[in-house]
């Protein structure tokens, strides 16, 4: 068993206009198989990735937003969203997908994965990471 490292995936792009968001999600899901300590950060336009109500059928593109709801099943349950980024875009926690996970150490209680934090707190999470993937 190798040493567990703290992985941080930094998401800063809006979905659909570029491929970054979808690529990040795919890398997170692949990485989840390696049983590392994974955190996701959503800041700047990245907060748009996890907004509710996305419907891409008129674009002929895949709507990948439901996939974020599966992250909890892969033990990816530390999802940090930056408050300042939400504020700049007129968004609140209510506009985001309800991302949850089930805690096996607490009788499978359903818990929220999203934590809204300040830019200062986000900086600390970045500082404490062993590996950072940027998208």
């Amino acid at each position: 068993m190798s040493e567990t490292k703290k992985f941080l995936y930094v998401n800063r792009k809006a979905p659909y206009g570029t491929i970054y968001a979808l690529e990040a999600l795919e890398v997170v899901l692949i990485g989840a198989a390696f049983e590392q300590d994974v955190s996701l950060a959503f800041l700047d336009d990245g907060v748009y990735q996890i907004t509710k109500g996305q419907d891409t059928k008129d674009l002929g593109m895949k709507n990948f937003s439901p996939t974020y709801k599966a992250l909890g099943d892969y033990d990816v349950n530390k999802i940090y969203v930056e408050q300042e980024s939400l504020d700049a875009r007129g968004l609140t926690l209510d506009d985001l997908l309800p991302l949850t996970w089930e805690d096996e150490d607490d009788d499978w209680a359903e818990k929220d994965s999203i934590k809204v934090i300040s830019a200062t707190e986000m900086a600390k999470i970045m500082e404490q990471s062993d590996v950072v993937f940027s998208f």
Binding site: K13, A14, P15, Y16, G17, T18, D44, D45, Y48, T51, K52, G53, Q54, D55, T56, D58, L59, M61, N63, S65, A88, R89, G90
Partner: protein, 102 residues
């Protein structure tokens, strides 16, 4: 020549919308498409810039791009008209020149 300006970048990541508004003149139109549709939302740090420009410029936004991004029509800045793909074509036909702000 009367111009249609199209903007396809998020105004919170790039300055394409800001630059398009700065360079558009009275009687021009501006159509937000792709990630540009975030510029049509109320309550963002860029909303006032759009509202202020409305006296001179006619603003349009692509409905299918709003829908893809989960932006409810109720949250669009008052005065911006929502168009579909045929509306996009009609705008291109109506104006003499189309300029894309990328």
């Amino acid at each position: 020549m009367s111009q249609l300006h199209t903007v396809n970048k998020s105004p919170l990541e790039r300055n394409a919308l800001e630059s398009a508004i700065t360079h558009a003149v009275k009687g021009n139109a501006l159509l937000m498409i792709e990630d540009g549709v975030y510029g049509a939302m109320q309550g963002t740090h860029k909303s006032a810039m759009v509202s202020d420009a409305m006296s001179d410029i006619a603003f349009y936004v692509m409905g299918p791009d709003l829908k893809a991004r989960g932006i409810d029509e109720a949250r669009i800045i008052d005065g911006i008209k929502i168009v579909d793909y045929s509306g996009f074509v009609a705008l291109v036909a109506e104006y003499d020149v189309t300029q894309s702000w990328l």
